[in-house]
Amino acid sequence: MKLAVVVQRYGADINGGAEQHARYIAERMATHAQVEVVTTCARDYVTWKNELPAGADTVNGVAVRRFPVARERDPRDFGRRSHEVFETTHSLADELAWLESEGPTSPALIDYVSSAGAGFDFILFFSFRYYHSWHGVRRAGGRAILVPTAERDPAVALSIFGPVFRGVRGIMYNSHEERAMIQAATRNHSVPGVVVGVGSDVPARTEPMRFRRRHKINRPFAIYIGRIDANKGCAELFDYFQRYAMTFPRGLDLVLVGTAVMPVPSHHRIRHLGFLPDEDKFDALAAADLLIMPSYFESLSMVALEAWALGRPVLANGRCDVLKGQCIRSNAGLYYESYEEFAETLYALESNGPLHARLGRNGRDYFARHYAWPVIERKYLDMLERLQSQPAAAIEPLPGWMARRKRELPPAARVLEAIPSGAVVAEREAMRQERPA
């Protein structure tokens, strides 16, 4: 079997969620099939500046083919167009212009998918919202499989993506909430799809004491791993944690791992360690009492899965449907929607040993049952096998020139509001029944 993985950026040192997801899947599927990664020369997801050389390359044993980005993103133009399509009544042409503005605009990559696509059995497109996926799916014919990595943001409610979600051969969802949202937004129930997610290379042995010695951390702590950004809920986390620290002067410390794009408050119980290599990151997770995930929007939190793999409970933002759903389904984490809940749940996790231990154990079980690599690989292989025996659906054509310019599409933010939200709890019962005795 020959597979192509098309993703906006690719590299061993590129740590975006979808990009890392794509790399893990490419590397794992390479043991079952011939895999080629098709990507751009960009490293920066804001500007899409060409920083890596175009042409063939190999990353961790997987063949990679890079294509240059034709033009960098203009943040002002993108901001203006985003406002137009998300907040005002607009046309299909406006949405297409928004897609062009978002990038990474790489016609060469799309031409390659179009010309060489026939040589692949399936082409996996990662991240539905970018230029490469929208154009690539339309050119790949019936070979396109989409890994949407969709969050609950207005982009999913744009009209241009409806035909893409309805026209792909199959969809590999990250979570039940993502599937529910996409199906509600695009009515693509007939498209074969499976909730898969992604595994993680969690080491068999971790050394928490090494981490504590290296960073001179002696006290118990909660950890946050990821970009330190207000969009990730970090501002709220800092506010809540500082209030909590005032209430409990000797409670847990907060350790932050990741690049900061917002100021980290100067507080004697908040430690920012910056970006850490994987080995250190896993040691840190193992040393931590729990992981805090303050993000409002997640398609799938890999770091939460890693925490569960290491037997650490998670305290998640309950306003993120995916995280809340995972906490409920796994019975391995608590969630908060206000400061009072944050304080109560954090206190419960740090003070109640039996509760902490059982949530941690549930997390370990949940990871092993749903996100261990053999499980993920099997789900992918089963899906590919299933799709081989099913006919490909044709993608809907774009409306005519005039129809594309009719300003009658509602603001995407308003469309998104109408889409039901909330954790998909009904799935839990089904999963319990699936669980082996």
Binding site: R219, P220, T247, F248, P249, R250, G251, L252, C327, I328, N331, A332, G333, L334, Y335, E340, E341, A343, E344, T345, Y347, A348, E350, S351, N352, P354, L355, R358, L359, N362, V425
Partner: protein
């Protein structure tokens, strides 16, 4: 703070979250749902707030005013708006003749200005809605606070009346209690030295009562007591003396079983960090030191009093 008992192997996160929320509700006291608060804000506001100061139907009024307003909220103005027409031919002709128009004047600044104005209108519309929303929310919060203040006032009144009652009761009981020599349970038969000591103590008690009345003679009387004490103590039987010493030692700072002073215990880093985290740690703070204060005062008393007298008599009684 929440303390969840995990009795079996299965934990139910939803159940725990329900407990967390009910606990928060208990803490808050009367908890209203958002709908109830809205209802209170819109209907019963006058009962709690000054109706002249805050209007309960702000949002409705705003909505009505917006609906009644015939003025357009905004207009769309792009660079192509000037040349648009329902007839494509006319639109094309205008675009074609655009260079000629530009010979007479430059329309670009005008287009830009109108475009900016359109954006400003839009942001104004949004901000206006936000301000009204904000005022509305403030009204709701004020209502909630008003209700809470009312509840708290009632609780304070009830507690102060209870306190008055307790004080009156305590005073009444104090008036009733009288010292009766025969009321105290008889001690085991004392040794001869003990009897002697008791007689001397009775004398001392009488003298102390006199000392209260005649403060100047107090200093003169105290000196012989001090001198007498070792002899008296030596006369007590060893078992009772040991017991008394143990009691004194317990009360004295640094004595057996007393440990550090409360302030010192709470300031020692890591004390209680292993035993339950914040509960014990928070306990080492002001609440704990407040709780230990009477003991600390008791511990200081013997040291301040004339050696052994006050301490021993209080310990015996």
């Amino acid at each position: 703070m929440a303390d969840f008992s995990v009795r079996n192997d299965n934990v139910d996160v939803e159940q725990i979250m329900r407990q967390v929320r009910s606990r928060i509700r208990e803490k808050r006291g009367v908890d209203y749902t958002e709908d109830e608060i809205r209802e209170l804000a819109s209907v019963k506001l006058e009962r709690f707030l000054d109706p002249k100061g805050v209007r309960s139907d702000l949002l409705d009024q705003y909505r009505k005013r917006r609906e009644a307003s015939t003025a357009p909220r905004n207009y769309a103005f792009e660079d192509s708006t000037l040349y648009e027409s329902s007839r494509p031919l006319l639109r094309a002709l205008r675009k074609l003749l655009n260079p000629i128009l530009k010979l007479f004047f430059n329309p670009t600044p005008m287009v830009e200005a109108l475009h900016i104005q359109s954006r400003l209108n839009e942001s104004y519309n949004q901000a206006e809605a936000l301000y009204y929303e904000l005022i509305h929310n403030l009204v709701i919060e004020t209502t909630r606070l008003g209700i809470e203040v009312k509840n708290l006032k009632m609780r304070v009144e009830s507690m102060s009346s209870r306190l008055d009652f307790d004080e009156r009761r305590a005073r009444a009981l104090e008036g009733v209690v009288q010292y009766r020599p025969g009321a105290v349970a008889p001690l085991p038969p004392p040794a001869s030295g003990e009897r002697e000591h008791r007689e001397q103590r009775d004398q001392r008690d009488q003298r102390d009562r006199g000392r209260d009345r005649e403060g100047d003679r107090d200093r003169q009387d105290r000196q012989p007591d001090r001198e007498r004490q070792p002899a008296n103590l030596g006369a007590v039987d060893p078992e009772r003396r040991n017991r008394r010493r143990r009691r004194r030692g317990r009360r004295r700072p640094g004595g057996p079983g007393f440990g550090d002073r409360p302030g010192e215990a709470s300031s020692s880093e890591g004390a209680g960090s292993d035993s339950g985290g914040p509960a014990t740690q928070a306990g080492g703070g002001p609440a704990a030191s407040g709780g230990d204060a009477p003991e600390a005062r008791a511990a200081e008393a013997p040291a301040a009093a004339p050696s052994g007298e006050a301490g021993s008599s209080s310990a015996e009684s």
